[in-house]
């Protein structure tokens, strides 16, 4: 990925007070959209995602000098985005896709009430299937499938073993496929 290749230079510029603002704008150009969609799939609605995205980038700006480079810059930012999303949900006591397993339909209700959700029956069905997965499976599936992150990157973000992630992902894929096939057979 082009943006990943730019990370070392970008990091140097972000740590240079004279270049920090310009580098931060470049960072926004590169990662704003990717982080937004990562957040959106956790907090569901656009308004919530917008709030969390701003908090995330403010934390990135303030914390860039404390980044110890134990992981790549983008996985560090994804981790901040993930933590901010979870913190936002806990603070506002919002049910997300990640805690739907208690049997309520808050996730789908929130989704359908979001003015920036215009999904049809098929898309709602996919959300419904995803929401039946375990918390870990949902996260891994969305990060791998929609965010195009590698298992190693997801491992760094969630601080979970690679093999565990792979197991969760393939299990999630299998479950979704079975649900879709089952739904197709019922329809026919």
């Amino acid at each position: 990925m082009k943006s990943k290749n730019r990370e070392p230079d970008l990091l140097k510029e972000l740590r240079n007070p004279k270049l920090k603002n310009k580098a931060f704008k470049d960072l926004l150009d590169l990662y704003q959209e990717r982080l937004y969609w990562h957040i959106r799939k956790i907090v569901i609605t656009h308004d919530n995602a917008n709030d969390v995205l701003q908090d995330t980038f403010i934390k990135i700006y303030k914390g860039i000098n404390n980044f110890k480079e134990q992981s790549s810059l983008h996985t560090w930012m994804y981790r901040i985005a993930y933590n901010e999303s979870i913190r936002f949900l806990e603070k506002n006591k919002i049910k997300s896709s990640l805690n739907l397993n208690d049997g309520n339909n808050d996730y789908l209700n929130n989704l359908s009430q979001d003015v920036y959700f215009d999904g049809d029956e098929i898309q709602l069905k996919l959300h419904s299937i995803i929401s039946k997965l375990s918390e870990k499976q949902q996260l891994v599936f969305q990060m791998k499938y929609f965010d195009d992150l590698s298992f190693r990157e997801i491992s760094e973000i969630l601080d979970v073993n690679d093999n565990t992630l792979k197991s969760s992902y393939y299990s999630a894929v299998k479950t979704i496929e079975e649900e879709i096939v089952s739904d197709t057979l019922q329809t026919n």
Binding site: F24, E33, H46, N50, L53, D118, G119, I176, D183
Partner: protein
């Protein structure tokens, strides 16, 4: 549901055992999320969001300092050099004799003695025509100054004596007088 099935079928045909989307068909994130998850964003959202974020970041860190901070490796030698220069300047100022000396101590008296000896040597080199002028200068510069010194020393002695106890006064006067006469 037929739409999803058709879509899934198409994707399966394109990407083997996968469904929903094909990794070889990279699309814009917005399009992808809209197509597969039904999630959309307002028009021009990311551009506006970027401005909002840039406006909300703290700008205190961006202020440039008006104080120029030198690196210690450079600053310390420069500071030390300046101190040495100032010290030399002050030392030279103290060491340089005053233009119009006012004789107040015994060091000057010793220097006058040396000058008196020099006078004899110097006078041998002065021509007869200029001898009177040379003598006048010597009297004014050396003898009158020495006389003034003696007078000042006497005054100092009297002032100092005021601080001496009565019982020591006599001996103090005698010692001071002897010193003064010898000088």
């Amino acid at each position: 549901m037929a739409k999803m099935n058709k879509k899934n079928k198409d994707h399966k045909e394109q990407s083997g055992n996968r469904f929903l989307k094909d990794d070889s068909q990279k699309r814009e994130l917005v399009q992808e999320h809209k197509e597969y998850l039904g999630m959309d964003v307002p028009d021009d959202y990311f551009s506006k969001s970027k401005d909002t974020i840039l406006n909300s970041i703290p700008i205190d860190n961006e202020r440039t300092s008006k104080v120029i901070r030198l690196k210690p490796l450079i600053a310390y030698p420069i500071a030390a050099s300046l101190l040495i220069l100032v010290g030399i300047f002050v030392w030279l100022q103290i060491d340089t004799p005053a233009v119009n000396p006012k004789i107040t101590n015994s060091e000057k008296i010793q220097s006058l003695d040396v000058d008196s000896e020099d006078f004899l040597v110097t006078s041998l080199l002065v021509e007869d025509d200029n001898l009177d002028a040379f003598l006048d200068d010597f009297i004014v510069n050396e003898i009158l100054v020495e006389a003034e010194l003696s007078e000042q020393q006497l005054e100092n002695m009297i002032i100092n004596s005021l601080f001496i106890e009565d019982s020591l006064l006599d001996s103090y006067i005698n010692e001071s007088l002897i010193e003064n006469i010898v000088l």
